[in-house]
C-alpha cells in the first residue's frame, strides 16, 4: 500500500492546480456559469494543448495513454476549481463509449479531433423516469431504409447545446432489459433534434433533448445492434469514479475555505476557530474529506490495475455523495450568513455537491449495489 502521490503524480497535481488557479478562479466560474455557452473556448483550447482530453486515450489517436489513477488526479483539480466545461461529457461520457464500442473508422474519425479540442461530445442516456438502468430507456429506434429513425425524450443531457455529437441510448427492441438497447452517434444539428435547457441547481448546462423522427445512418451506430448496454456497463465504473474524483477536489476546497475562514473571522474577540463547536465541525469535515480521497483513489487504482471493483466503485460514490454534501453543509454553517450570499464563493461547492450527489446514482442507489455485493 502507498497512500502518497509519486513524484510524477505530485508534479501532475501541482501543474494542473496551477493552471486551474490561473485560468479558472471563482470569478471566472461564476461568469461562465451565467454565460449561455457555459464554457470558455479559449480555456478549452488550452486544455487540449495540455493533453488533458487525450489523457486516457491511446497514442495512436493522439492521446497520451495515461493511467486512470493519474487521470483522477486531473479530475480532482478540476473539481477543486469547480471548472465549468464540457470536459466530463466530452471525454468521459462521449470519448470512452467511442473508444470502447466504436469501430476503427469511427475511432479514427472522432477521437483525434476530440483529443485536439475540436469536437465536443455528450451522452443522452437518462429519460423522464430518471434512471440509470435499462428499464429507464424507452426512446425508440425504428429501422428505416438508410438506418434507423429515433424518437423519444432524453433528459439531463449535459452540454447538448454545444455538442457536435450526442450519443443516444435507444431501444431497437421493445422491453425493459439491457438486451435490445443500441447506441447511436447523432449529429446534434440533425433535423428533429431539439435541445431545451433545464434550470439546474448548480447552473451547469443540462438539457432536454427531444428526438422527433431523427434519421441515423448505419455508419452512425456505435457498437453492435441490441448490445449497446454492454458499452455503457463497461465505461460506467469510470464515469462514477471520475465523478468521485471531482467530488474529492470540491470537498477538499470546501474544507480549506472553511478552515481559512475560521482562522480569520473574529467573534467574541477571538477567531471562530478557537470555539470547540467550530473545531469539532472542522474535525468531522476532515474525516469526510480524507474518506472521500482514500475510497476514491482505491477504486481508481483498482480500475487502473484492471481489477474487479464493482463494490469499491459503488462504495466510493456512496461515500462521496454523502460526505461532500455534509462537508458543504458544515462549511456553510461555519461561514454563517456570508456563505449564503451569491457574492461569496462557497455556494459554488454547496451546489456542486448536490449536483454530483444526484448524478450517476446517490448513496441510496450505490448502497443497494454494495448490499448486492455483500450477498444480501
Amino acid at each position: 500500500m502507498d497512500f502518497g502521490l509519486s513524484e510524477e503524480q505530485e508534479i501532475l497535481r501541482k501543474s494542473t492546480c496551477n493552471v486551474m488557479e490561473k485560468e479558472c478562479p471563482p470569478a471566472f466560474v461564476k461568469e461562465t456559469i451565467k454565460d449561455e455557452k457555459g464554457y470558455s473556448p479559449e480555456l478549452w483550447r488550452k486544455m487540449a494543448e495540455l493533453g488533458w482530453m487525450g489523457f486516457i486515450f491511446p497514442e495512436s489517436y493522439g492521446g497520451i495513454d495515461g493511467s486512470f489513477l493519474d487521470f483522477t488526479i486531473l479530475l480532482e483539480e478540476m473539481g477543486r476549481a469547480c471548472l465549468p466545461s464540457p470536459f466530463f461529457s466530452t471525454v468521459i461520457l462521449g470519448g470512452l463509449p467511442i473508444l470502447e464500442g466504436g469501430n476503427e473508422e469511427q475511432k479514427d474519425e472522432l477521437l483525434p479531433p476530440m483529443i485536439n479540442g475540436d469536437l465536443i461530445l455528450t451522452l443522452a442516456i437518462t429519460e423522464p423516469p430518471g434512471k440509470y438502468t435499462p428499464d429507464g430507456i424507452g426512446s425508440r429506434a425504428t429501422k428505416s431504409e438508410k438506418g434507423y429513425i429515433l424518437d423519444g425524450t432524453k433528459l439531463f443531457v449535459p452540454n447538448a447545446h454545444i455538442a457536435d455529437y450526442i450519443i443516444v441510448v435507444a431501444r431497437t427492441k421493445d422491453g425493459v432489459d439491457a438486451d435490445g438497447i443500441t447506441l447511436f452517434l447523432v449529429d446534434a444539428k440533425a433535423r428533429g433534434v431539439t435541445c431545451t435547457p433545464l434550470l439546474t441547481i448548480a447552473g451547469d448546462k443540462q438539457f432536454e433533448v427531444a428526438l422527433d423522427k431523427v434519421e441515423v445512418t448505419h455508419e452512425r451506430i456505435l457498437g453492435d445492434i441490441d448490445k449497446g448496454w454492454h458499452i455503457i456497463e463497461k465505461i460506467w465504473p469510470k464515469v462514477i469514479v471520475a465523478a468521485c474524483g471531482e467530488m474529492v477536489g470540491g470537498a477538499q476546497q470546501t474544507l480549506k475555505m472553511t478552515i481559512d475562514y475560521a482562522k480569520e473571522r473574529e467573534q467574541f474577540g477571538r477567531p471562530l476557530g478557537c470555539l470547540q463547536a467550530v473545531q469539532h465541525f472542522c474535525a468531522d469535515m476532515v474525516a469526510d474529506v480524507d474518506g472521500c480521497r482514500y475510497i476514491t483513489y482505491q477504486a481508481a487504482w483498482m480500475l487502473s490495475e484492471g481489477l474487479s471493483c464493482v463494490k469499491e466503485v459503488a462504495m466510493a460514490k456512496a461515500w462521496c455523495s454523502d460526505a461532500f454534501k455534509r462537508v458543504t453543509k458544515q462549511g456553510q454553517q461555519v461561514h454563517g450568513a456570508i456563505g449564503f450570499t451569491e457574492e461569496h464563493d462557497l455556494h459554488l461547492y454547496y451546489k456542486s455537491a448536490k449536483k454530483w450527489e444526484l448524478l450517476y446514482g446517490d448513496s441510496w442507489f450505490h448502497r443497494e449495489a454494495v448490499a448486492e455485493q455483500m450477498g444480501l
Binding site: G4, C274, A283, D284
Partner: protein, 392 residues
C-alpha cells in the same frame, strides 16, 4: 498510490490465518466481541511469541523482528477478525515496549523487553485518575523522592486489566511546584509491590474489566523511573500516536457485523429473508462502506508509521472516526434484531448469543478509552488543521 498488498504481505496474512484457523478448530478460544482485550491467555501469547509476533516492529537488538507497521496491521487485522485472546501481551507490545525503546535506559531494555517479547510478563496502563480524565495533566498521584526510592501515594482509575497483569506503566507527579505538565514522570511498577491495592469496577455490561488501583506508601526503586524526570508528560504524548490508531479501534465488535449479515440472510420476516428488506439492506451497506473507510484510515496510519513518520492528526482522526462506527454498528444491530435486540448473552431466545445487546453496552466505552472523542477532535482541529487553541 497503491492500494494493494505485496506478495510477502499476502503470504504473511495467510500464515496468520492458518495459525488462527488451527487454534479455533481445537477450541482454543471463542470468537466474541471484545475478546481481544478481555481474554488474556499467556499460553496463546507464548505461541505468538514463538512466531515472532510480539514486538515484531522493534529493533533486532532488542529482540524484535524489525518488521513494518504494515505487517503489524495485517497481523492485528487477522487477530481481531476472530477476536483472538491477545490481552496478555497487547498493551506491552503496542505501547510499553516502544516507550521503553524510546525513553528507557539500557537496564530497562534488558530487564523488560525480552520478557515482553517472550510473553513472560503482562502490563497495563495507569493513566487516568479520579480528577484527571481527559485532563490527564492534572494527575495527583505523587512520587516523593526518598533516598534510593520514590514513595508513591495516590490512585489510578479505569485501569483495564490491572487484576490480571504483572506490571503497571504509569504517569505520576514528581514535582508539586512546577507547572502541571512539567512535573510528571513515567514509572514502571510491579503490581505485587506492597502498598498496591487493585479493586474491581464492574462496567455496565456487568463485567469486571477495569479497576481502581490504590498506592499507599509504595516504595518504588529509583531505577523504575523511565526517561527523564518531570518530562513524563511529553514522553507520553509522543507515545499515544502509536496507541491511537490501530485496527483495534475499528474491530472491537467486528463479530457483531459478521453475525448480523449472516442472521439477516437466514431470518425470515413476512415470508422472505430479512436481508430483502430495503431498510436492512441500506443500513448494512452503509455500515460496510463506513467500515471500509475506517479500514483505509487505519492502514493509512500504519503506512505513515512504516514510512518512519509519526502520524499526527491522522491517528486521532482515525480513532475518532472508527469508534463512532463501532457504536453505530452495535446500535444498528440491536435495531435490526428488533425486540430480540434487548436480549443479553445467555438469555433464551437471544439471537447471535446476545452479542448485539452486549456490544451496545460495551460501545459506550469505545469513544472514551484512550482519549475521548472530544479530545481527539480537538487534536485534529488544532494539530491537524492549525486552528487556534482557545486561551483559558
Amino acid at each position: 498510490m497503491d492500494f494493494g498488498f505485496t506478495k510477502e504481505q499476502e503470504s504473511f496474512r495467510q500464515e496468520v490465518r492458518d495459525f488462527l484457523e488451527k487454534k479455533i478448530e481445537c477450541g482454543a478460544f471463542e470468537i466474541i466481541s471484545n475478546g481481544w482485550l478481555e481474554n488474556s491467555s499467556q499460553e496463546f501469547s507464548k505461541e505468538m511469541s514463538e512466531r515472532g509476533w510480539i514486538g515484531m516492529t522493534w529493533p533486532k537488538e532488542y529482540g524484535g523482528q524489525e518488521r513494518t507497521y504494515m505487517d503489524r496491521a495485517i497481523l492485528m487485522e487477522e487477530m481481531l477478525t476472530c477476536q483472538a485472546p491477545i490481552a496478555y501481551h497487547f498493551l506491552a507490545d503496542r505501547q510499553v515496549g516502544p516507550a521503553i525503546i524510546h525513553f528507557g535506559n539500557d537496564d530497562h531494555k534488558k530487564e523488560y523487553l525480552p520478557k515482553i517479547i517472550n510473553a513472560e510478563i503482562s502490563m497495563v496502563l495507569g493513566l487516568s485518575e479520579p480528577n484527571a480524565g481527559s485532563d490527564l495533566v492534572s494527575v495527583k498521584t505523587y512520587a516523593k523522592e526518598e533516598g534510593d526510592f520514590f514513595i508513591l501515594n495516590g490512585q489510578k482509575v479505569w485501569t483495564t486489566g490491572a487484576h490480571r497483569a504483572d506490571y503497571i506503566w504509569m504517569i505520576v507527579r514528581t514535582d508539586l511546584d512546577a507547572p502541571k505538565h512539567k512535573g510528571i514522570s513515567e514509572f514502571i511498577l510491579d503490581l505485587k509491590t506492597p502498598g498496591v491495592t487493585v479493586r474491581p469496577i464492574i462496567n455496565i455490561a456487568g463485567v469486571h474489566s477495569f479497576n481502581e488501583v490504590f498506592f499507599e506508601d509504595v516504595k518504588v526503586p529509583k531505577e523504575n523511573l523511565v526517561g527523564v524526570k518531570n518530562r513524563g508528560f511529553y514522553q507520553l504524548m509522543a507515545q499515544v500516536d502509536y496507541e491511537r490508531a490501530g485496527l483495534e479501534r475499528l474491530m472491537q465488535n467486528y463479530p457483531v457485523f459478521v453475525n448480523l449479515v449472516e442472521y439477516v440472510k437466514k431470518e425470515k420476516r413476512n415470508g422472505q429473508p430479512l436481508s430483502k428488506d430495503p431498510m436492512v439492506r441500506n443500513t448494512l451497506a452503509e455500515l460496510e462502506v463506513e467500515y471500509q473507510i475506517g479500514r483505509l484510515f487505519c492502514y493509512q496510519v500504519a503506512w505513515t508509521l512504516t514510512q518512519g513518520r509519526i502520524p499526527n492528526y491522522e491517528a486521532a482522526l482515525c480513532k475518532a472516526y472508527c469508534t463512532q462506527y463501532e457504536q453505530r454498528l452495535s446500535d444498528a444491530a440491536t435495531r435490526i434484531l428488533g425486540l430480540y435486540g434487548q436480549l443479553m448473552p445467555g438469555s433464551k431466545w437471544a439471537p447471535m448469543n446476545g452479542e448485539a445487546a452486549d456490544s451496545y453496552l460495551w460501545s459506550v466505552s469505545y469513544t472514551l478509552q484512550g482519549g475521548s472523542l472530544e479530545v481527539l477532535k480537538n487534536i485534529v482541529a488544532t494539530r491537524g488543521l492549525g486552528l487556534p487553541v482557545a486561551k483559558k
